[in-house]
Subunit: 420 residues, 2 copies
C-alpha cells in the first residue's frame, strides 16, 4: 500500500509520520519549495503529476485551496487512482463536480477529514439516505473561533483571544478564514451538498464574523440563561430553508452550551425531531492525519470506497429524486431551494440605549412582529429574547432601533430549548 | 429492491411501513403466529427458509434472541443474500462467527442498529483502523435504564420509575434485560469485538443492575458534584483492561451529565486522549427502522457492504495483528486480554454508618490504598470520592466496612474530570 502526498505542511507531515505504523508507504510529496524540506526522506516533487504517476495506490491531497488541488484530484481520478482529501475549500467549491468525476471513473473520493476532522460521520451522511434527510443542521464547525469566543466569554478582548489562539498553534498565521466564519460556511456547504442541496455555494451562506463580539454580549446572553457560540446552521424544511455561519445564542439546555475550547460538534435533526449529536476534535495535524489514514485504509479495502457510496445519494437527491423528498417526510426537493437568508428563529437582541424604557421596547418589538419573550435589563444594556421571526423582520426591527439611536446586536437563537 | 423480514414485532412492522417510501418492497415475513397478523398485507411464513428463498435482495433480521436468528442468518449468507440485523443479543453472542461466514461468502452483514440504534457509527468503527484503536469506551447504551435512573434522581422509587417507563412504552413487558444491565453488556461486547477483542462474551462483562439505586444514592453523588448514570465502559489499555455495565458516578463536567431520559451516548478515547462523542436516540421502532433501511440501501449500493468492510479490521486485530497494536500506540494486542473485572478508576462510595467518624474513615481508606480525595457528610450518610484504585482494592475496603456494620454502595467513576 503506497500513497503520494499533495502538500507537505503540518497535516502532510503528520500523515507521512503516522503512515509507516499502519503499513502504508508514503512515496512522494508535492511541495512548492523543496529546499524547505531538506530533512524529509520523501521524494519531493514540484510537479503534482509526477506524484500521481509514481505508482501510488491512493493520492492524499492536503494542499488546501482550490487550485491546483482541483486539477490534480481530477487528474488522479481520471487515471483510476483513489483520492483522499481533507480540503474543505476544495470540496465546498467543487465537491459536486469532483464526485461526478469519481463516479464516472468508478474510483473512491473520500473526505472524512474535511468536516469535524476527528469524528467520522461524513461517510454515514453520504451513504445513508434516511440519515441524509436531515431537516436541520446545527454545528460548531470551526475550532479556532470556538476557542476565541470561549475566551471572550471569560472576559478577554477579541485581540487577546486571537493572540492566545495563535500562541497555542490553534490559529493559522492568517486566521481570517476562521474569524470571518468563511471556514465554517465552507464546511456547512459540504454538509448541504450531502443532504441533496448540491447547488449551494459557500457564497450563498449568510455569514458574519466573530470579531465584533465583546464580553458585554456574553454577559447579556448569560442574563437570559444562555451563551454565544460560533455556529453554522441550516434549515432544510419546506418553505423555511436558510443558512447562517456566525455567532448564535445557545440556551443553557442545548448540548452545545457544554462544549468549549476547540471542540467541534454537529447536531442533525430529522422530520421525527430526535436529534443526533457528533462531537470531538475538529482540527489538528495528528487528528486530521488519523482520519486521512483511515480513509486511505477504506479506499484500499474496497469498502465505503466505491464512488457510488459517497456520491450517489447526494447526487440522486440533487438531481431531484422523489425518493429523497419522500424520505424527508414531505414531497420537498431541497435541490431547488434557496439558502441565502438565515432561517427563521427566535432572536437574541442586545440593545444599548438611553432613550427607551422596557415597556416601550416591548411595545415597539410587538408592533414589528418580533415580540419579546423575555427582557432582562443590565447596567448598560437590555437583553431580549424574541418570539420566532424571519431574518427580514428581525433585521428591520434592529435597523429601526439603530435609527432611533440605539446600538443593537442581533443573533439567531439555536435549538428548541426555551431558556428558563 | 426487495427485502424479507424475520420477525414482525414493533420494529419489523415499522420497517414494513417505512420501506415503500424508499422504493423498497417488503415481500414476506417470518412470524410465529400468523393469526396475530391478519391485517398485514405481507406474505406471512412460519418457516424462515421460505422467506430467505422468496427471491429477496436483502434479509432483515429483527427476531431478537440467538436462535433461530443465528441459523437463518447463516442460511441467508450461505446463499449469497446480504443480511441486515438490529439484534444485539445475536451479534454479541455470535458476531465473530457470523462475520466470518459473511466474509467467506463475500456478502454484507450490517448491524448499525444494534448499538445506538439512531446514530450511525458502527460502520465507522468497523471499517476504520485508527478509529477502532480506542483505548477507552464509555457509553450510555440502554435508554430504558437511563430513563429509570433519571426518574430516581428526581425522587421516584425504582418501582415507580419502571412503571412510568412501561406506561410510556420505553420498557418491554419483561424489562429485566434493561434493568439488569444485560442489554448494555451485550452492546459493549459488540463494541469490544469491533475494537479487536473478538474473544469477549457478554458473560465476561462485570455487570450490576440498577434495581437497588435509591434517591439517597443520587443525593450523595450530587453532594460530590456529580450524578449516577447506567454506563457500559471498558478500558483497552495495556495492563489495565476491564469492563463494567452498571451504574457509575459521572462528574458534572462530563458530557454524559447533561443527557437524560432515553438518550444514548458513546464516548471513545484514543491514545492521544481527545474524546469523540456520539449521542442520540438509542431505540424505538421508527428510529431503528430508519437505520435498518439505511443499512439495506447500503447493501444494495455495494458500498460499506463488502463483508471485508465491517468485519476485516476487527478480525485482523482479533487474530493478533501487530498493526492494530501499533495503531493503539503500544505493541499491545487486546485479543489476549482479560476484561472480566471493572477497570481501575476512582470510586464513589456512599456509606451509611453510625460508628465511624470522618477522620477514622479517611484513615481507614488510606490504609487500604483507596484514599478519599473528598468526603461529604450528609444527614444520614457519607459520600466519598476516592483516588484511583483497582476494583479488588475498592471491593475489599467496602467489604471490610460492611463487616464493621456499615452499608456501602461502591460505584466506578467515569471520566477524567475531577469533580470540583
Amino acid at each position: 500500500m503506497c500513497i503520494g502526498l499533495l502538500g507537505l505542511g503540518r497535516i502532510g507531515r503528520a500523515v507521512a509520520d503516522a503512515a509507516p505504523a499502519l503499513g502504508i508507504e508514503c512515496r512522494s510529496a508535492l511541495v512548492r519549495e523543496p529546499r524547505k524540506h531538506l530533512t524529509s526522506s520523501l521524494t519531493l516533487e514540484t510537479d503534482g503529476l509526477r506524484v500521481i504517476d509514481s505508482g501510488i495506490d491512493v493520492l492524499v491531497e492536503v494542499l488546501g485551496g482550490t487550485e491546483p488541488a482541483r486539477s490534480l484530484v481530477i487528474g488522479a481520478l481520471d487515471r483510476g487512482i483513489p483520492v483522499v482529501t481533507a480540503n474543505k475549500s476544495l470540496m465546498a467549491a467543487h465537491g459536486p463536480e469532483l464526485r461526478e468525476v469519481a463516479a464516472r471513473a468508478g474510483v473512491p473520493l473520500l473526505y472524512e477529514a474535511a468536516v469535524l476532522a476527528g469524528v467520522p460521520f461524513v461517510g454515514a451522511l453520504a451513504g445513508r439516505p434516511v440519515m441524509a434527510s436531515a431537516t436541520r443542521i446545527d454545528g460548531i464547525l470551526n475550532g479556532t473561533s470556538h476557542f476565541i469566543t470561549s475566551a471572550i466569554e471569560r472576559g478577554a478582548t477579541f485581540g487577546e483571544a486571537l493572540a492566545d489562539a495563535n500562541a497555542r498553534g490553534f490559529a493559522e498565521p492568517d486566521s481570517r478564514a476562521d474569524t470571518s466564519s468563511r471556514d465554517a460556511a465552507e464546511k456547512l456547504t459540504i454538509l448541504l451538498h450531502l443532504c441533496g442541496a448540491g447547488h449551494v455555494t459557500a457564497a450563498d451562506i449568510c455569514r458574519r464574523g466573530i470579531e465584533t463580539l465583546t464580553p458585554a454580549d456574553f454577559a447579556a446572553a448569560r442574563r437570559l440563561g444562555g451563551s454565544i457560540k460560533p455556529v453554522a446552521c441550516a434549515s432544510l424544511e419546506p418553505g423555511r430553508c436558510g443558512s447562517w455561519a456566525g455567532p448564535a445564542f445557545i440556551a443553557a439546555g442545548h448540548p452545545f452550551a457544554h462544549f468549549s475550547g476547540v471542540t467541534n460538534a454537529l447536531e442533525l435533526r430529522s422530520a421525527t425531531g430526535e436529534p443526533i449529536l457528533f462531537a470531538g476534535p475538529g482540527a489538528g495535524p495528528a487528528v486530521t492525519a488519523a482520519t486521512i489514514l483511515d480513509d486511505v485504509h477504506t479506499c484500499s479495502n474496497g469498502s465505503n470506497g466505491s464512488a457510488g457510496s459517497w456520491g450517489s445519494w447526494g447526487s440522486v437527491r440533487s438531481t431531484g429524486s422523489v425518493r429523497g423528498a419522500v424520505v424527508r417526510g414531505a414531497r420537498f426537493d431541497v435541490s431547488a431551494a434557496r439558502f441565502d437568508q438565515p432561517p427563521a428563529s427566535r432572536w437574541f437582541l442586545r440593545i444599548v440605549t438611553e432613550q427607551i424604557s422596557d415597556a416601550h421596547l416591548a411595545e415597539f418589538l410587538a408592533a414589528r412582529n418580533v415580540a419579546a419573550a423575555r427582557i432582562e435589563r443590565g447596567a448598560d444594556d437590555i437583553a431580549v429574547l424574541t418570539v420566532p421571526a424571519s431574518w427580514a423582520v428581525a433585521q428591520s426591527a434592529a435597523r429601526t432601533l439603530e435609527q432611533l439611536g440605539a446600538f443593537v446586536t442581533a443573533l439567531p437563537v439555536v435549538g428548541r430549548e426555551v431558556p428558563r
